[in-house]
């Protein structure tokens, strides 16, 4: 049964396991260094739909269906789904999962949504209030661009610190199982705001929250980075990763030799548009539900920390000159 230790870490004693997962990406992500790992992709950026918003909904639906297929269960077997995305009022999730026979809980954690949803799903299964719980999230380069920045055809240039929103979705199914990778603990992070106002430097805005959650986790569990095979952060990108190392070093925590950032893994760094790396809910979701899960299943990793990092801003708060608060949630996934 879920039990809180120290400040913010929740140990899940009943070992909720990942019984199915699915990932969908766009063409640019497919052409990236880990492109072969993803389950599905489409060369059509609209995924056969007529708007980008519908395209995002579609990839979320495909991700859930892929995960259900892999787990060999039907949607009726799924007791609850936690879903979220970056679009206003989370329409990516609601329109994508509309018509599914699964009780729906919409969540918003910006790019931290994957870890947030998966944490909640794991707690539900651990407490026995769900037999199978799902978590899904998505982002789409085009729908995010038009909501947060400029129209796609506009020629404005980006600064080198900006990140490219990943077109992708990832879905994870959690249930009791003895022989699958399981969620050992979850740590919900605090909102941390260090006054960064540059919306083209999200990595810098999120790094302090990631550092805070990692620090809390190591304190709570009395462990060190050496106890884990690898630590994944969601979408800190080049700048955020650098800053995370610096912040943690100040507390004598060195994760440099066992850390990777999903935002740095997903794209070919030489692409002109990528700048400091990938971002968006779909970034950590797609990487977790492909690359990371494959390596947990084949035994390359046995004990990992997975974090999703979110920048909690809106176009309105940014225009009003507010700084960008960050939040990061952490999950410890282990092999049985």
């Amino acid at each position: 049964m879920a039990e809180r230790i120290c400040n913010s870490t929740i140990i899940l004693g009943n070992r909720p396991a990942i019984i199915g997962y699915g990932s969908v990406v766009g063409k640019t992500e497919r052409d990236g260094p880990i492109g072969d790992e993803f389950d599905r992709f489409d060369v059509d950026i609209r995924f056969g739909e007529d708007t980008f918003e519908k395209a995002e909904s579609r990839i979320q639906k495909i991700a859930v269906e892929t995960a259900l297929n892999k787990a060999g269960i039907s949607e009726k077997d799924c007791d609850i789904i936690f879903a979220g995305d970056l679009l206003n009022q989370c329409i990516g999730s609601t329109f994508g999962l509309k018509g599914k026979e699964i009780p729906y809980v919409g969540i918003y954690g910006a790019c931290s949504t994957m870890a947030l949803g998966l944490s909640l799903a794991s707690i539900f299964v651990d407490c026995g209030i769900a037999n199978v719980a799902a978590a899904v999230t998505s982002s789409h380069f085009c729908s995010a661009e038009r909501q947060y920045r400029f129209p796609l055809e506009y020629g404005a240039l980006r600064t080198p610190t900006s990140q490219r929103t990943v077109t992708g979705s990832g879905a994870t199914l959690v249930s009791r199982s003895d022989n699958k990778p399981y969620i050992n603990s979850v740590t919900f992070g605090k909102i941390v705001d260090k006054g960064v106002t540059d919306t083209n430097n999200m990595g810098a805005a999120m790094a302090p929250s990631a550092a805070d959650t990692i620090r809390e986790y190591f304190l709570d569990t009395n462990t060190t980075p050496e106890d884990y095979d690898i630590i994944f952060t969601g979408d800190l990108g080049e700048v955020g990763t650098k800053l995370l190392y610096e912040l943690l070093i100040k507390d004598d925590i060195d994760i440099r030799c066992r850390h990777n950032d999903c935002g740095l893994m997903i794209y070919d760094k030489n692409l002109r548009d990528v700048n400091a790396g990938g971002s968006g809910c779909g970034c950590s979701a797609a990487v977790l539900n492909s690359y990371v899960m494959h390596r947990l299943e084949n035994g390359d990793f046995n004990n990992i920390l997975f974090m999703s990092t979110g920048a909690l801003l809106s176009p309105t708060s940014a225009l009003q000159g507010e700084s960008i608060p960050g939040v990061s949630h952490l999950i410890n996934i282990r092999n049985p």
Partner: protein
């Protein structure tokens, strides 16, 4: 460990890469110049075809606007501007792109609530403050003429 916002700000500045200014300036100069050359060639063509000196600049501006709008429509403008930067964004070609891009993009929300509302979402400030500036300029010009 607690870090003050000011201290973190310094860390962020150190960790953040800046744009490659020398390259950007050079490319902007090159492409901006090229846009001017294209404009000049059209200008001479129009004079050759019989346009007078007053209509020539209008025709040149219209031509550049049309070319940029077409390039935006076939998704080529953005590719050019990624290399050319301010070279194509500062001339009137950039203005054309700023109008056409939202017109294409927000078609999915309909012609009134989408295109109609959003078409000036980027160029709006330029149009508004440009108009105000020209009114102020006009008043000053009028007064100067009256005094001297």
């Amino acid at each position: 460990m607690f870090i003050k916002n000011e201290e973190y700000d310094l860390m962020v500045k150190k960790a953040s890469r800046n744009s490659k200014k020398a390259r950007d300036f050079f490319l902007a100069f090159l492409f901006g110049g090229l846009v001017c050359v294209i404009g000049e060639l059209f200008g001479r063509l129009y004079v050759y075809l019989g346009a007078d000196e007053n209509t020539r600049p209008i025709l040149v501006a219209l031509t550049l606007i049309t070319i940029a709008a077409l390039l935006t429509g076939i998704k080529l403008f953005q590719k050019i501007s990624k290399v050319a930067g301010a070279g194509v964004l500062v001339p009137i070609t950039g203005f054309s792109n700023a109008i056409v891009a939202p017109a294409i993009e927000f078609k999915s929300e309909g012609f009134i609530g989408g295109v109609g509302v959003k078409i000036f979402s980027i160029a709006g400030p330029v149009i508004m403050y440009g108009t105000i500036a020209s009114v102020i300029y006009g008043v000053i010009y009028y007064l100067m003429k009256a005094v001297f």
